[in-house]
Amino acid sequence: MSGAIEPQRVPSDGAEPRGRSPADGQSVVTVNGTPRTVPAGATAHDLVVALGLAGRPLAVEIDGRVVPRARLAGCMLKSGSVIEIVTLVGGG
């Protein structure tokens, strides 16, 4: 998968970004609170790679469910999905 995964421009009138842009075949997903466009057919693994996070310690949740690392490559992103990518930080 070589398609660029970029932050989605939020319309200046504050309207919600559309869930799908049929003209260019891209989907919009929300990653850690920010809308992003992904190529249609991109997987969760593609997203992790495109974000430069491959190989880093992380866990991924899609629409409220944890997706184990081994299943990221088989997990196709759906337009409108809400994705959280987390890691460990210092804490008490």
């Binding site: 890691t87 460990l88 930080v89 008490g92």
Partner: protein, 287 residues
Amino acid sequence: MAVGPVPVVDAALADRPLRVAGLTLASRLVVGTGKYPSMASMVRCLEAAGADCVTVAVRRERLVTAAGENILEFLDPARYTLLPNTAGCYSADDAVRVARLGRELLRDLGNPGAEWVKLEVLGDPKTLLPDPVGTLEATARLVADGFAVLVYTSDDPVVARRLKAAGAASVMPAGSPIGSGQGILNPANLRICLEMLKGDDPDYPVIVDAGVGTASDVAAAMELGVDGVLLNTAIALAAEPERMAHAMRAACFAGRQAFLAGRIPRRLYASASSPVDGVIGTPRHTE
């Protein structure tokens, strides 16, 4: 250079290790990994404190700035049991989500802490006091999901008992609000918690979590008979964190040994240490 507390080589000082949820911890001090001046300082402090279980938080990856250093570059998962927390969660739903993400992260690392969670469900941002209702609900849900739940709670004995009944692997009452450094504000409540939780189950682990300001707070908690103390800020924000970490280790050892040794009862009046008889001069006796 060994500058820590006296190593326990004397059989008279033998103690059984702390066991929580089937895992054995060499240290009764569990230390957090937040707020240190640097990662290098954190590493030295964990070493000085003698901790083998340390807490970590689960947070969003930063996607905007270039990814910086990750705490796992500094914490050897083969050396430390990592205890992921749900800090910052204000609902049972959020805490359950964070716990599951932490488990996934630690399973990837092959760390024994993967099946553990330090559960926090907060009720108020200023005091960081726990929400007892959300905490109880999240405990039950996480236990049902297979977690060993080490649960942060207040020093309310009845809530503590409910959390144990819900299946918590360890109940962890706060000595005082998180990061406040006020120490053990209500030792009487902690004593009642200990009676209720350990009365007919002496091996049930009770850990004081939060509120420690200095070494004597750790000693005081351990002297009450708690099984361990979890702290972070008191070391991380001390003027000399590494020195404070040593002090905490020594205090934990001292407090534990004092508890095992069995303190004398408090008395209102004096009791002479030297023989009353045989004093030269004119002895004085009370009526």
